[in-house]
Point group: C2
């Protein structure tokens, strides 16, 4: 038997709003146990009639009217000032009030992060939330963070991401002792810029309870070399979008190749179920949770389909039922100690550091 | 009629050495006009017998004996000290001596860059070479740099890459006025870290003769939004490898999907020529030229096949026949002026800069 659970949903967020969110809730409800319930925040006169068609859902859904909606292009600062009473704000607030175990929104990412940070606050020791994503690999799933929330990251922040990403991976994917890698331009200790080299040193020291593997490279993200890959938000965002772009390009090229002429087209028809399975395997993940908050908030992408958004809801349930927030807190308590040690490499004047050229490239 | 042209080749470089290089030269010779000739540097007792089987090649090839070879794992500093007389060094040296119009090697990247920099020196105003690559897009080819040579890049270096990448793209792909984009985590001026925002400001001012488009994002690399995409060597290396990894993963998944069962397999057989064309379209580029040197040096990847290496040789010929080095020099002369201007945003205390949160994320 599972515990009853409530998931709060921003029904107005995303490019499509309720026209995607309602079918998504219907799908998720079918897949999830009956004791999972849903709080839908948004325009009641829109939501209630839309729900009326789904009788089976009625006992499991409650609509909470929200007057306003955060616009997709609203600046985070503006969303903070004017956000109170929006469907997004109310969804996050129910998590703080323990009415809901998690909140899901496909709305404005920056606004969702800013509101979540203000309303829920950060876990002690964590400075800002990190955005995490799941990448399919031949071995399973790689947890990849930060994918865009933190542009400038020092070594301490990278170590923070390692701690949070590892706990998240364990919670979301059930690995007992996930391996962690730090993204760099080469595997040797002298490679990369100062921040990654210093984070590598801290993680190697072993003061934080992590199964640390060392440096990994860009092709390891989909290669499955480690379970968790850590990088700054600039690199992570670019890498994630670059991979999404490459996948999109390849799919378009494949479609083009398989419709040019009779034989290829016939081949494509015969292989259709296999090609659909292929597309599903390589499709981008349905949602990215914010890590480091006192509460669970998931961001589904703005253009999410009902299927994507339903998967985001299911992921919210999985996270809510796991103890990953507690694990992050436990390991974060070791961070100050790991950073405060008379770190021989920190100042760059140690014997090892002195022998290194600063900022060695991928090519040296 | 084309001018006679000599290409110098490091015949010992790469994971496979002469066993790939010789067949590559045979291929390239067939595809190129008869007035293109080849200088092969390496172990004469190995090379001459291997060439004996290719009678048609004899009048177009000269072997230059080199006692030694730069090891694939040799440190650049070591390669500089001990490099003289290696096949790689000799190949680059013939470019300085104007015996050859370009050098091609599949050897150790860091060593090749260090040797090229020492032997050929940089174009006035350029600090270090940049590594450039060609990415296929639905619209054609995107020139992408730096993909790993320069890890820490300030705004001036990014502007330098823009100048060199634009000239390269024109030379290699014949576009009259290529568009240039700066890689970032969002399109708005306030996005990204200080270096990209400052480079954006300099390029926007228009003091350098470039068709500057503004910020682009990771998915634009394969999207074809602009002709040239500029980033620092850390981000570029990670993004390139991430895309290669994604492409490899997708190919493996596709192969798996199309061999699982009778119908998919039959479909794959019928679609085979189309699938091969697809693979060719998405395959990684055969070579990355170093930009900013007084001379043309191309790095083919270490695991290059004979076909890849032959394409690298053909690219060397294209570059040698274009005037891109002169164009880089011309625009580099404008760089000091563009940087020296009382740049209002440089110090971060201007009215506009003061209103901005530093280092805004992708999500704000």
């Amino acid at each position: 038997m599972t515990q009853p659970l409530v998931i709060s949903i921003d029904a107005m967020g995303g490019d499509h709003g309720p026209s995607v969110v309602i079918p998504a809730v219907v799908r998720a409800a079918q897949a999830l146990p009956a004791d999972v319930r849903f709080l839908l925040h948004g325009d009641e006169p829109t939501l209630t009639p839309a729900l009326a068609r789904h009788a089976a859902l009625r006992p499991r859904v409650e609509v909470r009217h929200a007057e306003r909606v955060v616009a997709m292009d609203e600046k985070p600062a503006q969303a903070l000032r004017r956000g109170k009473g929006t469907s997004m704000w109310n969804a996050v607030e129910t998590v703080r009030e323990s009415e809901a175990a998690a909140a899901v929104s496909a709305g404005n990412t920056g606004a969702l992060m800013a509101i979540s940070r203000l309303v829920l606050r950060m876990i002690p020791g964590v400075e800002r939330p990190a955005l995490v994503t799941n990448i399919p690999t031949p071995r399973g799933i790689t947890t990849f963070l930060d994918v865009g929330a933190n542009i400038d990251c020092d070594a301490a922040r990278l170590v923070e991401f390692a701690i949070m990403g590892e706990a998240y991976h364990r919670a979301a994917h059930g690995a007992a002792k996930p391996t962690v890698g730090l993204l760099n331009v080469g595997a040797e200790d002298m490679k990369g810029h100062e921040e990654v080299r210093e984070a590598n040193r801290i993680l190697r020291e072993g003061k934080i309870d992590l199964n640390y593997h060392g440096f990994v490279e860009g092709d390891d993200i989909t290669g499955g070399a480690v379970d968790v890959i850590v990088t700054d938000g600039f690199t992570g965002n670019v890498a994630l979008k670059a991979m999404e772009g490459a996948a999109k390009f390849m799919s378009a090229e494949l479609r083009g190749a398989l419709t040019g002429g009779l034989m290829p087209t016939l081949g494509a028809v015969l292989a259709r179920p296999a090609l659909l399975k292929f597309r599903e395997r390589i499709s981008p993940p349905p949602a990215a949770p914010f890590l480091g908050l006192n509460g669970i908030v998931l961001k589904s992408h703005g253009g999410a389909s009902a299927r994507d958004f339903a998967q985001a809801i299911q992921l919210a349930v999985d996270l809510a039922r796991s103890g990953f927030s507690a694990e992050i807190e436990r390991n974060m308590r070791r961070l100050p100690d790991a950073l405060a040690e008379p770190a021989s490499g920190t100042t760059g004047d140690s014997p090892e550091a002195a022998g290194q050229t600063p900022a060695q490239g991928a090519t040296e």
